[in-house]
């Protein structure tokens, strides 16, 4: 990796660790391996959102040409959000694409992702199914996102109705995550979810 990239990532790594946000456990980074090519990021779900109380893990890959090109970031933790793929964790955020600027850092990227969790852009979606639910059935979107945070990201509040429906499908031999995806994308309509799974 080019010299400027390594030196900068080292400085940024320290900046994140020492930042006020890290002290409050809102963001964090860890090394993966002993070079600085790949990092693991962590962000806390912002308060007053369905992601509150949850912790999301991110894969951060630093390109050779950093900081002239943006880092490649995706969610490792499964999340229900219009701008993040519920399947791959790919993120649709302009600063990670054409709006990147060389003065942005790991800290500002993590904080921007946290802001994205608090303010979704359903008109520029990454996951069309989630975006449609966000626009057409917003209260169900909030409950679904909250339930995903509980199941995958350690948020405390669960939902017994959703849990029962998932269990019902699991009794039919469907995997837990598969059941969750089918129900979430069918607005928790049991019949439609079954049709989608078994047709």
């Amino acid at each position: 990796m080019a010299n400027i990239a390594i030196q900068r990532i080292k400085r940024e790594f320290k900046e994140v660790i020492k930042s006020d946000e890290a002290q409050k456990c809102a963001i964090n980074v860890e090394l993966v391996g002993d070079d600085y090519r790949e990092l693991k990021g962590e962000i806390a779900g912002p308060p007053d959102t369905p992601y509150e109380g949850a912790t999301f893990h991110l894969e951060i890959k630093v390109p050779e040409t950093y900081p002239f090109n943006p880092p490649k970031v995706k969610f490792l933790t499964k999340i229900w959000h219009p701008n993040i793929s519920s399947v791959t964790g790919a993120i649709c955020l302009d600063i990670l694409k054409d709006q990147w600027a060389a003065a942005m850092t790991l800290r500002t990227v993590l904080l921007s992702l946290q802001a994205l969790l608090a303010a979704a852009e359903p008109d520029d979606p990454q996951d069309a199914v989630v975006a449609r639910q966000f626009k057409e059935n917003h209260s169900l979107f909030l409950e679904t996102a909250q339930y995903w945070s509980h199941v995958h990201a350690g948020a405390s509040r669960g939902n017994s109705e959703f849990a029962n429906k998932v269990k019902c499908l699991m009794d039919m031999g469907v995997g837990e995550h598969q059941a969750l995806v089918a129900l979430s994308s069918c607005n928790w309509d049991m019949e439609r979810a079954i049709e989608q799974l078994f047709s």
Binding site: I4, Q7, R8, E15, P67, F68, D98, W100, A101, T105
Partner: protein, 150 residues
């Protein structure tokens, strides 16, 4: 008699090369001013990539100064200012030459504040001109309204 290509100010394609119809269509939409009515932006026409590089003349004529005081750091490499050279952009932000030049060879804005610099890309410059004309027109109409009704 002047050839077709001379008359139209273009060159024939080399043998075996096909014209880039998408590019021509995008240029037609841009230069005809149709993109505004279609609620399009530059990225819709020319792809989701950063704006084009800063113009070569701009980069070559950037003024270089010597670092005198040590306060602050260069926002690209994050190193403190120590002895050496720096370049100042029109927005007054300062960077090491080895930090800012590779950036301006990629895109045309200040890494700190996105202040836009001139480019060598004709399509992009035309887009900026039309955008400015549109915002000027809106400002004029607003001024006219205010003077009529206040």
């Amino acid at each position: 008699m002047a050839s077709y290509f001379d008359e139209h100010g273009c060159n024939p394609l080399p043998r075996g090369e096909a014209p880039d119809d998408y590019l021509h269509f995008a240029r037609l939409i841009l230069h005809g001013g149709y993109w505004q009515g279609m609620q399009m932006e530059y990225s819709h026409l020319f792809g989701e990539k950063p704006p084009p590089p800063a113009s070569k003349t701009f980069v070559n004529t950037l003024k270089t100064s010597k670092v005198t005081e040590n306060a602050g750091q260069c926002a690209v490499c994050l190193k403190e200012w120590v002895k050496g050279d720096f370049n100042t952009l029109p927005c007054k932000h300062r960077f090491h030459p080895s930090c800012i030049i590779p950036w301006l060879e990629k895109t045309n804005s200040c890494p700190m504040c996105r202040h836009e610099l001139p480019t060598d890309d004709e399509d992009y410059e035309e887009y900026k001109r039309q955008k400015k004309r549109q915002s000027d027109r809106e400002a004029e109409i607003k001024m006219l309204h205010n003077s009529m009704f206040s």
